[in-house]
């Protein structure tokens, strides 16, 4: 086929195209995935029984808002990575900054605590299931976001995949916080972050395979 013929053909397909498609499609995917993840949490784990008291404690909100902030930073960054020719360096810094902040406060909390309490702060009572639960809860969000990315045009597939992982891992962790009974910052700085890092790694591995276009 001659290139001019192709051009004539393409020009017949001129349905007007909506603007701002990238952030809207990813947001739609989150609107599908997040309720599913919440439902999965309620059905398989259940919210913590003392939720009514817990929401008065600042630690509960730290556990919800920190991963939610990472998910939001992931969303903003991903909306840029999904469009060709748009830099995303600033977005990646906004993902890393809250992480550094969390680690610093966790280290200082650990250092301030008496030696006898330190082990409990790190291991809690649920470290074996925390990371895996976060990964499981992020699955519906991850799948929906990947599906929306396939309609967009990321040009750096591993980075976009990792960023989708941060988004879904962060959202999954925020949802898991409604179940998780732990109260230690060091616990969160290790096991929550491990869950988000795991989804980011899975995303980076799957991106080049699933997001080609």
């Amino acid at each position: 086929m001659k290139t001019d013929d192709l051009i004539a053909l393409l020009a017949t397909d001129t349905a007007a195209v909506p603007r701002g498609a990238a952030s809207r499609q990813i947001a739609t995917a989150m609107a599908v995935g997040i309720p599913l993840a919440i439902l999965a949490m309620l059905l398989t784990m259940g919210a913590r029984p003392d939720l009514a008291q817990a929401i008065r404690l600042p630690m509960f909100w730290i556990k919800v808002l920190f991963p939610a902030a990472m998910a939001f930073a992931g969303f903003v960054t991903l909306a840029r990575l999904a469009r060709p020719g748009v830099g995303a360096r600033v977005g990646e810094i906004t993902i890393v900054l809250p992480l550094l902040l969390l680690w610093l406060t966790a280290i200082s909390a650990y250092a301030d605590a008496p030696a006898s309490e330190r082990a409990a702060m790190v291991w809690g009572r649920s470290w074996q299931i925390c990371t895996l639960s976060i990964v499981m809860l992020s699955v519906p969000i991850f799948a929906a976001v990947f599906a929306s990315l396939q309609r967009l045009a990321p040009t750096q597939l591993a980075r976009a995949g990792a960023c989708a992982g941060v988004l879904s891992g962060g959202a999954g962790a925020a949802i898991y916080a409604f179940h998780c009974p732990e109260t230690g910052l060091p616990f969160m700085a290790i096991w929550y972050v491990a869950g988000i890092a795991a989804t980011a790694g899975i995303g980076a591995a799957l991106g080049p395979r699933l997001l080609r276009w």
Partner: protein, 171 residues
């Protein structure tokens, strides 16, 4: 011009694509000087990809950045699959066919998109053939095929998406 095309203006879009293809040809020729035959294939692949992904362009970004990012992505994709394939080749074979082929007309791609078109289902293939090969307008093609005008448009639209997928992943 692209923006008016995005709003659905046929003539502006066609004129834009003409300019874009010339720009792409120059851009890719500079980077693919080892394989002149691949240039036109890649120009067509890029045009198809940009058409199918045109919703990812936003007017607050420079158009060249968007165009170059897609062209570079497609170029890297080609080089990567080439290096995989070429590693399997016997290097001696190369003297023979390569030079004969590089004389092909610049605007006639080697990989036949028409051949790929054959693999599409009728509902997408027929409207594309009528509009492209016979030069009919969408309205004429609709009467000829006994389909509604919007069905013809949808057929073309989906067909182009499917073509874009098949060109990207030859399997």
């Amino acid at each position: 011009m692209f923006l008016r095309g995005l709003d659905g203006e046929h003539a502006a879009y066609q004129a834009f694509l003409q300019k874009l293809s010339a720009h792409l040809r120059a851009f890719l020729r500079r980077r693919l000087f080892g394989w002149p035959d691949e240039v036109e294939d890649l120009v067509q692949e890029c045009l198809l990809a940009m058409h199918n992904k045109r919703h990812t362009y936003q007017s607050d970004q420079p158009l060249t950045a968007w165009v170059h990012a897609i062209a570079r992505y497609k170029l890297i994709d080609l080089l990567r699959s080439k290096s995989g394939r070429e590693a399997l080749h016997d290097p001696l074979e190369d003297d023979m066919a390569v030079f004969a082929e590089s004389t092909t007309d610049a605007s006639d791609a080697r990989r036949d998109l028409a051949g790929l078109l054959e693999t599409l289902p009728d509902r997408q293939r027929l409207p594309i053939e009528q509009v492209k090969l016979k030069g009919l307008s969408v309205t004429e093609a609709a009467t000829f095929l006994g389909m509604s005008e919007s069905a013809v448009k949808v057929g073309i639209h989906r067909g182009l998406k499917a073509l874009g997928k098949r060109v990207g992943n030859p399997s």
